[in-house]
């Protein structure tokens, strides 16, 4: 168990967060059926860093992207997503 630094609330216990999916598995509404199926049903699943969508479910409920190592669990970056993070 470790801490995740929420972009809005600061460091919080991991139990407040839930994992959703990786960023490359978000279906592109403009893409064709083949790319949609690829996004829904395949993963790189690397033994290394991947970009993951997490949610501060039991906190501020905001979505974020963690760049997290799948073996060491080290989080190298946290980025807010959603309307509030738009430029």
């Amino acid at each position: 168990m470790y801490q995740i630094t929420c972009p809005h609330c600061g460091p919080r216990a991991q139990t407040e967060f839930t994992y959703e999916r990786t960023t490359d598995s978000v279906v592109d509404p403009a893409g064709d059926a083949q790319t949609a199926m690829q996004a829904l049903y395949t993963r790189a699943n690397p033994m290394g860093l991947d970009d993951e969508i997490w949610r501060h479910t039991y906190g501020c409920r905001a979505w974020m992207v963690l760049t997290r190592h799948r073996v060491t669990h080290e989080i190298t970056a946290v980025k807010a997503i959603g309307p509030e993070a738009l430029p």
Binding site: R43, N45, P46
Partner: protein
């Protein structure tokens, strides 16, 4: 031929100080090429090698293991063996395996301590009981044993369950499969290894696959930490690391690796007679032959290859088990451990050809690989020997995710972290 394990051999050994025993398997140097290479010396890989040699007569086979055999998930599970699934593709597959389990010790000449003590799913409300009855009906239609139990019948088998009406999780009944049970996990790996080795299979440990040898769209061998080894056919059989090894061949699989934890208490006298599971809650409890209470629950619902789990997940499983069987609260936890499970996107395994010629897949066992060991080995051996799936693993193709023919027992959809 190796000295068979028998009372007679033991008696004979008594006369010569038991000096006639040999190592259970050889430690060969890898050859330059094999007919079939199996990547992964776990239960499934070793079973595949054994059935390739025994059933199909293909003995020029190597099992490559990056560490030591049986050190992965076959050594990290909770040893449950059952075939009580609702969907026919699943229960027919696992039932084929369960029949092999019942004769496995004789077949391998190795005591795998298979103990068909019965496995029950608890029902906690009307909805649960309807689902359990439906599951039992589906099983019985295919000739698989299933029996609905009333709370009174449960009390005779498991008197320590809290069957009172004011229990936090009232128990309305259960579905039991009497032919299900447990087995000694290490013995399964060692028994298959010894039997496969006796038939000429090379078991090569400390040999990690680092890449594939490719010729166009064909895999013709593997690069390993002990050099290049060529193969007619190559089978991936690496459980939680399927995504990683398939990635070396350039494949993206419908698999996400997660941690699954289990724990065992100090040894006590018999207090849990059967295997008790609750799918509405999600815990399972059984008692090992040494007396320890073996427990498990949900996977940690986020990707990891770390083989270490989050304590809160264990706490959930323990809390549920203690609530349903209060006497467990008096026991002390002895050990906990984790394994990396290859969570597939419909909860069912993938066994069959891959999109790359010469490369085959056996993956996606989620948290239920141990019970499948004999059936997985049997059908994967058939697939590797003939290039085509056995009728039992035909539904478990990789293509099913693209065609929509998924086998989703819990109807969750493509979300391994919600399973």
């Amino acid at each position: 031929m190796k000295t068979p394990y028998s009372a007679f051999s033991l008696l004979r050994g008594a006369l010569n100080g038991q000096k006639h025993w040999e190592p259970a398997w050889r430690d060969p140097e890898p050859r330059a090429s094999y007919d079939v290479i199996i990547i992964g010396g776990g239960g499934h890989g070793l079973a595949t090698a054994y059935y390739l040699a025994k059933v199909h007569g293909i003995r020029n086979v190597a099992v490559l293991e990056k560490s030591w055999i049986g050190g992965g998930n076959v050594g990290r599970n909770t040893t449950l063996v059952r075939s009580n699934y609702r969907l026919p593709q699943l229960h027919n597959f696992f039932e084929f395996g369960l029949k092999l389990w019942h004769g496995l010790s004789d077949d391998l000449n190795y005591n795998v301590m298979f103990s068909p003590r019965g496995a029950m799913f608890l029902g906690h409300n009307d909805g649960d009981m309807i689902k359990l009855a439906e599951r039992g009906d589906a099983m019985r239609c295919d000739g698989i044993d299933a029996e609905l139990l009333t709370p009174k019948q449960i009390a005779k088998i498991e008197p320590l369950l809290d069957l009172s009406r004011d229990a936090r999780f009232p128990i309305d009944g259960a579905l039991i499969q009497w032919r299900a049970g447990t087995a000694r996990h290490d013995a399964v790996a060692w028994g298959y290894a010894r039997a496969a080795d006796a038939l000429g299979v090379d078991i090569i440990q400390k040999c990690e696959v680092t890449g594939f040898v490719k010729d166009g769209n064909r895999i013709t061998g593997v690069e390993t930490t002990r050099g290049r080894i060529l193969a007619g056919r190559t089978g991936i059989c690496v459980a939680g690391h399927s995504g990683h090894v398939a990635g070396l061949a350039g494949l993206r699989l419908p698999i996400e690796s997660q941690t699954l934890q289990a724990l065992v208490t100090e040894g006590v006298k018999p207090m849990v007679q059967s295997v008790i599971m609750s799918q509405s809650l999600h815990f399972y409890v059984s008692q090992s032959d040494k007396g320890g209470i073996v427990m498990g629950g949900d996977p940690d619902n986020w990707p990891s290859y770390a083989r270490r789990g989050q304590p809160t997940i264990k706490e959930h499983a323990i809390a549920q088990a203690v609530t349903c069987m209060p006497a467990l609260s008096r026991l002390r936890m002895l050990r906990t451990w984790s394994g990396v499970t290859d969570m597939s996107f419909d909860g069912s395994p993938i066994i069959g050809p891959s999109p790359i010629d010469g490369l085959y897949l056996n993956a996606g066992w989620c948290y239920g690989g141990f019970k499948a060991t004999p059936a997985s080995g049997w059908t994967y051996a058939h697939t590797l020997a003939t290039g085509k799936p056995h009728e039992l693993n035909a539904p478990f193709s990789l293509e099913r995710f693209m065609t929509g023919a998924t086998i989703d027992e819990t109807s969750v959809g493509p979300f391994p972290n919600h399973r």
